[in-house]
């Protein structure tokens, strides 16, 4: 029995070793012609990055390049590094990364640069010396200010509001929160943040949290959601509590998940950039960098069908965050 097993295994191994060899070499031959771009999201299975991926895939098809899209299944800086180092070993041409954690990821990105792999970041930046360009959809400051300004407009510059975040440890959300608070303190001193609750990136949990917030804070005028599943969750809670119109809901989220609430008047506005364009621009910039068409010091970048983009220093600017509301949300599908 044991001997048979060993024999089987040995032949299996030999077979695997031999039969695959020619395939591998042809793959290598075609691989030298095509540029391979590896796109790293903060986490997979998240509507935001699915939309980014959709844009990236369209651009990849148009440009005729190989696109790799992979990331941790849950936001995890350690896994991000692991994937980047795998890509280094794999020998991709360009890495475009959305950093879950600035310092954590920079080590791995620097290593990639040392091996001759071009690196850009998108969505959220790494350390400046760890990448050539940053495709900047909106700065943390811009997001914080836009959210706070929108909240102030809806609340008449005074009153209580609460924030629902993804998790207490998410780096980008903490960064946004910092800027929200800074803007509040400097411009809207009469507004007060009464609570901050995490929803673990789950819509159902956000709904439960919002329900508790509503009953615990009778003077609450607005719920601000800084992770995308929380926006529809909070909106459903407000609707069920019968406080539509009395308590406003705003947040960072995708149009499709929120259309119904925006149209019903529960959610006032959803703020986001055009995520597909972000993915597309990240891929285009990555390819241009690999081909040498994009160099440090350039002032503009021609993004093909997307048009011209301004470059500030080493940031390629996607444009301002976009406010989706009743008047325009039905035109978008992502």
């Amino acid at each position: 029995m044991k001997r048979i097993l060993t024999l089987l295994l040995a032949t299996g191994l030999l077979f695997a070793g031999c039969s695959k060899a020619p395939e591998a070499s042809t793959a290598g031959a075609s691989g030298t012609k095509k540029i391979t771009v590896a796109l790293l999201p903060k986490s997979k299975g998240n509507a935001y990055f699915i939309s980014v991926k959709a844009g990236a895939e369209k651009a990849a098809q148009e440009l005729g390049i190989d696109l790799l899209f992979d990331g941790p299944t849950d936001p995890d800086p350690a896994r991000q590094n692991e994937i980047i180092e795998n890509w280094i070993a794999l020998g991709v041409d360009v890495i475009a990364a959305a950093a879950e954690n600035r310092d954590g990821i920079s080590t791995a990105l620097r290593k990639a640069q040392q091996r001759g792999i071009k690196v850009i970041t998108y969505d959220s930046d790494a350390a400046p010396d760890a990448r050539t360009f940053f495709v900047n959809q909106a700065t943390a400051e811009g997001i914080g200010q836009t959210l706070m300004d929108e909240a102030a407009r809806l609340m008449g510059n005074a009153g209580e509001f609460a924030i629902i975040t993804g998790s207490l440890t998410a780096a980008n959300m903490n960064e946004w929160q910092k800027h929200i608070e800074a803007r509040r303190a400097s411009t809207y001193p009469n507004m007060k943040m009464v609570a901050l609750r995490p929803c673990d990136d789950l819509k159902d949990k956000a709904q439960a949290e919002a329900t508790a917030l509503l009953s615990a804070n009778p003077n609450l005028k607005l719920i601000m959601n800084i992770c995308s599943p929380a926006v529809p969750g909070a909106a459903e809670a407000v609707k069920q509590a019968g406080k539509t119109g009395k308590v406003q809901v705003i947040g960072l989220g995708l149009p499709n998940e929120n259309k119904r609430y925006v149209n019903e008047g529960v959610t006032e506005s959803v703020i986001l950039w055009k995520t597909e364009d972000l993915g597309s621009l990240a891929v285009r910039a990555a390819v241009a960098l690999a081909k040498g068409e994009l160099k440090p010091g350039d002032k503009t970048f021609a993004g093909g069908s997307l048009g011209q983009f301004e470059i500030q220093g080493d940031s390629i600017l996607l444009g301002k965050p976009f406010i989706f509301n009743k008047s325009n949300i039905n035109q978008f599908d992502f």
């Binding site: 709904q207 508790a212 009953s215 599943p229 459903e236 499709n256």
Partner: protein, 310 residues
């Protein structure tokens, strides 16, 4: 009195907490928000009771969260296909029961350890679902919410039906032969076998029952909002197991009451909203939750220790 020490002490802690809330945050007891809270916890209650039954039978299931997500998405897709709710409900329960049967077959049929089997199925279902759906929300038809009822009556229906369900289960577990078989198998499978019970069949059926209950729970959660988040149910297994254990179900099998589980779940479920009402910052929430779980079991442990030594 001593026989129900754990159940009574948990119920006592719950009453204390509610009393404290009544004094410091009376707003907690507004009828509508309270009803909403109970409605949101009704699905978790069913899952916790299902898990309690499995644990009483000396097994464990940590795959319920993933199962819950698969059932939710499955039900959502069926409903979006235009199936009437009255067909989606049994279909979802069937799906849950089938997935539960997979666990049950591996545990009872092959005699594999349940914690490892369900660890494997937990990862497999969750990742498979993510691969398939890529995290996309499922939009539900508008008439599915609250089964087409008005909101308040829908909520009442959900809460009452979950309570009735738990009462039925509790009755079956204590008074019917099939229920007592679960205790017998959990206490001593070999003795149960000698007494003419088929332990493997009982184990298999507890997993199927848990699966069916999870399917039902997924459906009850589904009708509370117009979209399905495919990540739903993440961490549900820990909540349900914690509720069962805090509520006095012995992890070594053969002991536990469903009303204890009810008290345990309510206690755990009230922590987060209670902190919100008391305006305690969220940073402490997980630590407090852990402390509550530990305190609940430590009390019992101290009492038993005293019995042993004195």
């Amino acid at each position: 009195m001593m026989r129900h020490f754990r159940e009574l002490s948990v119920a006592g802690v719950l009453v204390l907490m509610l009393a404290a809330l009544a004094v410091f945050a009376p707003a907690f007891f507004q009828p509508q928000p309270l009803l909403s809270l109970l409605t949101r916890e009704a699905p978790a209650l069913l899952v916790a009771c299902g898990i309690a039954i499995v644990i009483i039978g000396r097994q464990i299931d940590i795959s319920v969260g993933s199962l819950f997500a698969v059932c939710s998405v499955g039900a959502g897709l069926l409903a979006a296909e235009g199936w009437p709710p009255l067909l989606v409900l049994p279909a979802t329960m069937l799906l849950g029961a089938l997935l539960g049967a997979v666990n049950g077959a591996l545990v009872a049929g092959l005699g594999l350890p349940s914690i490892v089997v369900t660890l494997a199925t937990m990862v497999t279902w969750r990742e498979g679902l993510r691969w398939w759906r890529q995290g996309q929300f499922v939009d539900l038809p508008p008439d599915l919410q609250w089964f087409g009822l008005a909101q308040t009556s829908g909520q009442l229906v959900l809460v009452l039906s979950s309570v009735v369900m738990v009462a039925l289960l509790a009755y079956a577990l204590r008074r019917l032969a099939a229920g007592r078989f679960v205790y017998a198998v959990g206490a001593d499978a070999e003795a149960a076998r000698l007494a003419g019970i088929r332990p493997r069949l009982v184990t298999f059926l507890t997993f199927v029952a848990l699966g069916g209950l999870t399917g039902l729970a997924a459906m009850m959660n589904l009708v509370q909002s117009p979209q399905v988040d495919p990540k739903t149910g993440t961490g549900l297994e820990l909540k349900a197991i914690a509720a069962a254990v805090v509520g006095g179900v012995a992890i070594s099998g053969g002991r536990g009451r469903l009303w204890g589980v009810l008290a345990g779940l309510l206690l755990l479920a009230c922590i987060a909203p209670a902190l919100t009402h008391l305006h305690v910052q969220a940073y402490w929430e997980k630590a407090i939750q852990g402390a509550v779980i530990l305190l609940a079991v430590v009390g019992d442990g101290l009492r038993l220790r005293k019995e042993r030594t004195g």
